[in-house]
Symmetry: D4
Subunit: 249 residues, 8 copies
Amino acid sequence: MRRERVRDLLARVADGSLGVDGALDTLSAEPTESLGFATIDHHRALRQGFPEVIYGAGKTPEQIVAIASRIAERGDGVFATRLSGDGAGALTSAFPAIECNAVARTAYLAPDTPPEVAKGSLLVVTAGTSDLPVAEEAAVTARAMGCEVARLTDVGVAGIHRLLARRPMLDTARVIIVVAGMDGALSSVVGGLARVPVIAVPTSVGYGAAFGGIAPLLTMLNSCAAGVTVVNIDNGFGAAVAAARIMHA
Amino acid sequence: MRRERVRDLLARVADGSLGVDGALDTLSAEPTESLGFATIDHHRALRQGFPEVIYGAGKTPEQIVAIASRIAERGDGVFATRLSGDGAGALTSAFPAIECNAVARTAYLAPDTPPEVAKGSLLVVTAGTSDLPVAEEAAVTARAMGCEVARLTDVGVAGIHRLLARRPMLDTARVIIVVAGMDGALSSVVGGLARVPVIAVPTSVGYGAAFGGIAPLLTMLNSCAAGVTVVNIDNGFGAAVAAARIMHA
Amino acid sequence: MRRERVRDLLARVADGSLGVDGALDTLSAEPTESLGFATIDHHRALRQGFPEVIYGAGKTPEQIVAIASRIAERGDGVFATRLSGDGAGALTSAFPAIECNAVARTAYLAPDTPPEVAKGSLLVVTAGTSDLPVAEEAAVTARAMGCEVARLTDVGVAGIHRLLARRPMLDTARVIIVVAGMDGALSSVVGGLARVPVIAVPTSVGYGAAFGGIAPLLTMLNSCAAGVTVVNIDNGFGAAVAAARIMHA
Amino acid sequence: MRRERVRDLLARVADGSLGVDGALDTLSAEPTESLGFATIDHHRALRQGFPEVIYGAGKTPEQIVAIASRIAERGDGVFATRLSGDGAGALTSAFPAIECNAVARTAYLAPDTPPEVAKGSLLVVTAGTSDLPVAEEAAVTARAMGCEVARLTDVGVAGIHRLLARRPMLDTARVIIVVAGMDGALSSVVGGLARVPVIAVPTSVGYGAAFGGIAPLLTMLNSCAAGVTVVNIDNGFGAAVAAARIMHA
Amino acid sequence: MRRERVRDLLARVADGSLGVDGALDTLSAEPTESLGFATIDHHRALRQGFPEVIYGAGKTPEQIVAIASRIAERGDGVFATRLSGDGAGALTSAFPAIECNAVARTAYLAPDTPPEVAKGSLLVVTAGTSDLPVAEEAAVTARAMGCEVARLTDVGVAGIHRLLARRPMLDTARVIIVVAGMDGALSSVVGGLARVPVIAVPTSVGYGAAFGGIAPLLTMLNSCAAGVTVVNIDNGFGAAVAAARIMHA
Amino acid sequence: MRRERVRDLLARVADGSLGVDGALDTLSAEPTESLGFATIDHHRALRQGFPEVIYGAGKTPEQIVAIASRIAERGDGVFATRLSGDGAGALTSAFPAIECNAVARTAYLAPDTPPEVAKGSLLVVTAGTSDLPVAEEAAVTARAMGCEVARLTDVGVAGIHRLLARRPMLDTARVIIVVAGMDGALSSVVGGLARVPVIAVPTSVGYGAAFGGIAPLLTMLNSCAAGVTVVNIDNGFGAAVAAARIMHA
Amino acid sequence: MRRERVRDLLARVADGSLGVDGALDTLSAEPTESLGFATIDHHRALRQGFPEVIYGAGKTPEQIVAIASRIAERGDGVFATRLSGDGAGALTSAFPAIECNAVARTAYLAPDTPPEVAKGSLLVVTAGTSDLPVAEEAAVTARAMGCEVARLTDVGVAGIHRLLARRPMLDTARVIIVVAGMDGALSSVVGGLARVPVIAVPTSVGYGAAFGGIAPLLTMLNSCAAGVTVVNIDNGFGAAVAAARIMHA
Amino acid sequence: MRRERVRDLLARVADGSLGVDGALDTLSAEPTESLGFATIDHHRALRQGFPEVIYGAGKTPEQIVAIASRIAERGDGVFATRLSGDGAGALTSAFPAIECNAVARTAYLAPDTPPEVAKGSLLVVTAGTSDLPVAEEAAVTARAMGCEVARLTDVGVAGIHRLLARRPMLDTARVIIVVAGMDGALSSVVGGLARVPVIAVPTSVGYGAAFGGIAPLLTMLNSCAAGVTVVNIDNGFGAAVAAARIMHA
């Protein structure tokens, strides 16, 4: 159960609109639920502020829908990533209200109680057009977690004036996510210009010695701008969760 | 110049205790200064909240002292990392008040105006005793940047009850830094238990297929707990700066 | 020939139900048999307790059926792994009684004499739903070798309470196989909680810096819990054979 | 506390030779103990059958002696690995009865109650003379855990008759540890000849494309003999613990 | 022009059956010929004993046929490797007499003058059935270069008796090619048993930590049997040419 | 805008054929233009002598056409690389005059003002036929940037006389690009023979231990001929731009 | 012999100041000279514009002096790199006029005829102070080859204004060498700002995931600024030779 | 025992100069001998034509002398490689007649019966002076095995005329060993020029992206000259044994 729903429940008990027994029933649902092929962690929402997210890769459409159904039954929102077309289709059939994003390869069904609104705004910066799917995954994830999102697209360092021209955006963000493939150099420049937390996401964009994202990953880990942190290659989702951890603190 | 000093200066102009010309002189110092072998970025403190830090590796003691002198002359604090014994010795001779930390291999000279105090407390968690030098580098850095620091040492996952027994510490921290070598698994467990930002530092502790820290680096990048971010191997300094960016926001 | 069949043969000679000459004929079959493209090791069953297993990858359906036929002719059970759909289909046509498992990609035809029953129970633990095919390969293999199998699914360390809640299962198993991709951290936690032999199987589940299973492989090789052993990436079969070696000793 | 000591304690309570209060005092000692730089897991012995082992690399002699003292105070045996000469010297000064093994780089102080005797015998096979330090680490560790150890040395596959001539040793062992560097091929041959569990330890012996042990590590992970399991490069200790887990089951 | 053809030509001049002018015309053909997309090295046959071989990968069927035509026009035999189905089809249409081998993915058109017969016999040994395509490429190449070829198939070290039973074959060969994937251990055992030159070919057979042939490549480079040489992964062709260099010396 | 167009514009203002206001309008177009998914750097042509090039990989046909349209509207030439068939088709539909090169996978639409002609001639040397697509990308790119191009094809070092026979071409070129896969050795030989700048392009041609171009990349980086510089694997485009930088200086 | 000396010789023959026989003697010196452990390429100077350079690593001081003596005897200048202290000492003893540079680890003895002066100026840009030895090697090499050298030091992208403030230097150079370790990002920014050839030199400065220079090497190979070329890690010498090839064209 | 000694023994029995019993005693010595830390394979000489060679790395001087003594006692020659100064010293003390080679790091004590003389001559070609220790190891090894050795030193491809000038040496050798570090390109050029077997030895000479010999190793494995075989990095010994296998066939 989402933290917000528990707070709401307790408030309704406090004001008498919900009886103790009814609240007890809702709360006493098992924290984990076994589906044979999956063990759902229903208390993750309470513990971490967002429900268990469904990682779509390697799961069949049937498994995805089954997990989503159990989460949705509790009124927690459903969020799925790395969806194939089949996976997205199956979710749409099962949950007509679910929002699928083809670029980000995500699906989102809002919870009964809207997520707590985070402080400040997240800025997602991308080096090139080919980095957009990863950036979109980050943006969609952050919104599902209650964060406001702004974007700055295709401002790679080969034309540094594109970034410098938009520098005020770096100063007003509360957290910045930098998404870049190839040389990954954008994260060092942004990290040097900004005061706020900078989370770098290497992408598998590139060829040859980009080695599927190893090149920008190493660039970002070795950033000469101190205090830049890094997530896995193409992991827009993880970067957004890290940003949400900061913005909800 | 540190942000705090500029604010202080402007306050003194406002209350008449400092004349406009004197303030102008102080402010008009060149933002960068060239020493031939180095170009000091004096405005970094103003831009990012802490002055340029001296990375000791690959610099001679003479170069280190020369850079430190220029920074110290402006009243900005001096902070140096990765110091050899010679480097630390040279700094101590030049600045008797400087504090050298042999485990962390750092030196710190407080600025004229103390750094702004960060919100909340940083928790530095280590998997094993051999990870302590990296953890110490993180702790010393964070303190120099105005952050309060708590520690939880030698709580690797081979004896998971050691961590579970101290779980309240995970709940009260504002940011958690996890320092681990070998399997690096501690970051995933902490990332799953805590709500707050978790920054993982892989260390070069281990042998064989630890490959000088590659093993825990990969573990941390692939953490199954969402939202864990990672810095370079043995980069306690960078983790602390990232934490300070969050805690000063 | 399986050890059990030889023992049975000798018993029948001892009690007079089989003549010496008939027994001799059966035993004098060549220990290896050449098919041109393969040299079958018929004595492996006698030497190691299970017959030569057919590794389906890189073999044509015709080759697979030809090898299986020679093994089946001797009454030894047939076991094949890494089967493509075509390979499984060809085996089903040739041996209607064969059991194909689509998730594990295996086929199994029971031997004339059932395999010796192993001591104790094997527990197969998986970190996530996407690890199931590898876990299933392990479970099916172990059963074919006479081992009883229990399962614990989707108990990755991001929600550590899912594992802790089922701790008694770790205490009653005779051998534990841990199947995990991504960070592979589950093996260290299980290795620290359990007294019994723990065999870790890294899987190719994950993306980016998981590098097709290198990340969990390194995690497992560097496990801070002493005494965890490791097999090849996605090698559920090998883990099960190792477990059977232990459980038949 | 070692399992054996707890059993002994309970037996003495049962026969009246120890009062309930005295037993309680002994048992109520904290399961973990913090030394600032280390958190000792005193219950590991009870949980896993052997006390926490001190990994000497990366620890100062002072830290090693401090940890050893706390473990020894409880009557649990002390076992330390990867000791430098200084570390071994400091332990010898502190514990005159401790046995240091210069080849294995270990130190061992027997517990008050001898360890439970394991079933069967462990065979440690080495490919070459240069692999002996790792094999010795395995042998010393296994003995400290109550296992009987036999050895077969310098029987690499370049002269396969050396191994074949000693084949009966492979048949009578309960567990076999194969220690090999360079091509690591010995583990596949032994794995094919033996029925019992085979644990392979790659060593960093070799040069050039041996890459510090990567070559034999990969050989062993890809062993064409099914059911061979692998530990980290040079990890004789871990192989022995895995063997002890099997032999104490 | 093949060496044999030049020798034949000279002999015919010597015995008067060919006039000097006719011989001159044949010999004076340009040693290299440019097709725009290729520069054919017609003198390679004279220099090295076999004509330029067409590496089919990365060439269009049209390019392959064009190169083959120029070589064939001179009476030198055509030999092509790594042919796609389309490439083989185009060659068959252009040269009805050409022999295509689907397993080896080669095509061969005999030269006007048969190749010189090499001394002794080549033995091609394979570890498993899946290694056959590479072994077949080696065998077909060696035959095209005048070498007699024997085979020993599926004698991997997991069942070492399969190899030991055929040991006389190792003693009578003049050169041995060992083809093996996965652990690649067979080359060390053969290298230790045989006196003659042993050329090892790693194959991409295997999965996971076989890394597309890196594992057996490293095994073979680190062979504990001295004097084993190695060629590229899956390079049956190169191994056969190396054998032919030896057998024609 | 291309440098040439700006110069032309100014000349027309100088001779009165263009009014000041018209020139101003043309010049005052925004230097960068945002399309949401891309930020076009219109000043790159002015700054670097050629307009922003469209990297086709990872962009949809719609995105490619949209970017091309904005560049074309300004009269700057359009140049696109790494085009899929769909991308090339979409460009051809949108710009009937565009020249698509199927081997190089490029498309080129000439600018209103032809590019400045570079000094001297570029020589593109290839080791084998399979390297032609990369060589062609280099040649087409260089021509679009005003460079004259000569070619020397299939002169790999296995037949060194093919190169030596054409040595005068090495002496008359102003810059040489060497394109080679597999062993990449051609760059060292050319680098030793030529006085002029040599730019080496490793290709992904090869198999096995060529590792998708890593082998020739390392060869080229370690060239024993001093002064050879290297670009990314398969990066014919980058090599040509580097050559154009030299030839336009 | 250096090209300049040959030209000078011919001029003296032309004006009668040198007889034909004397010129012949000088010219007829063997182009290569064997010292047993080395084969000196005396014609390299004539062919490539500078004499054979002595790579000091892996040579004994005696070997270095012996080679230098033969080159010096012909009046060609001596240039040695990667000198140990012993190597530099031996050269100084043998050639008192030689100039040793301790930072660059080079030694230089001017030739009888000064080298041809190159066109334009070379700019050597470094990211940090620790990159200076590599930059110095480049600068000293370029000067020995007749190039004028300017420097821009410690302008890494973490403080991008340090570089932007010196932008005119980028516009007036004829060639730019960028020397950077850690993230190597400086080369992309310089490549995007400058029109002229940019040669990137990765350095082994850094730790952890910098992997001894692999991180900046990959960054530079994947530079998003087109036309940046790269040399080996720490290869300041090679970058300077490449620059000299350009500047002498 | 060496093959030659056995043949000699039998001849003496045949001509009556040695009694049957004496011959029997000599022959009946155990084929393997255990020293505790080593198992000597005395029959290797008989099986493979040369006695077991002592690999000095990782063995103590005492172990080396002990093994050498047992081999020497039988009249077989002693050959040791990779000797430290201490190892060589100990051997010299024990066997005053032993020949130590400091460059090759070998020691050789001739057998009672000189080795059979091989057919033809071995040519050892080196790319640079720094490759000499590896080349020397090859030359010394080959001589100990009865092969005549010629040398061609410092003929790397950066000055290709040095090699071309000595081409007749390539034509008269029976086997060629090419020793090269850095780009390793020499093996491809020699492989293309020569008809005879070419064995390539990569060396660890170089820096940066030479990666301790990986660069030339990959070059050699990918040689565009067909039929070049490769041994481990710096393995001059192995190359010589491979050559001896060919030359004794």
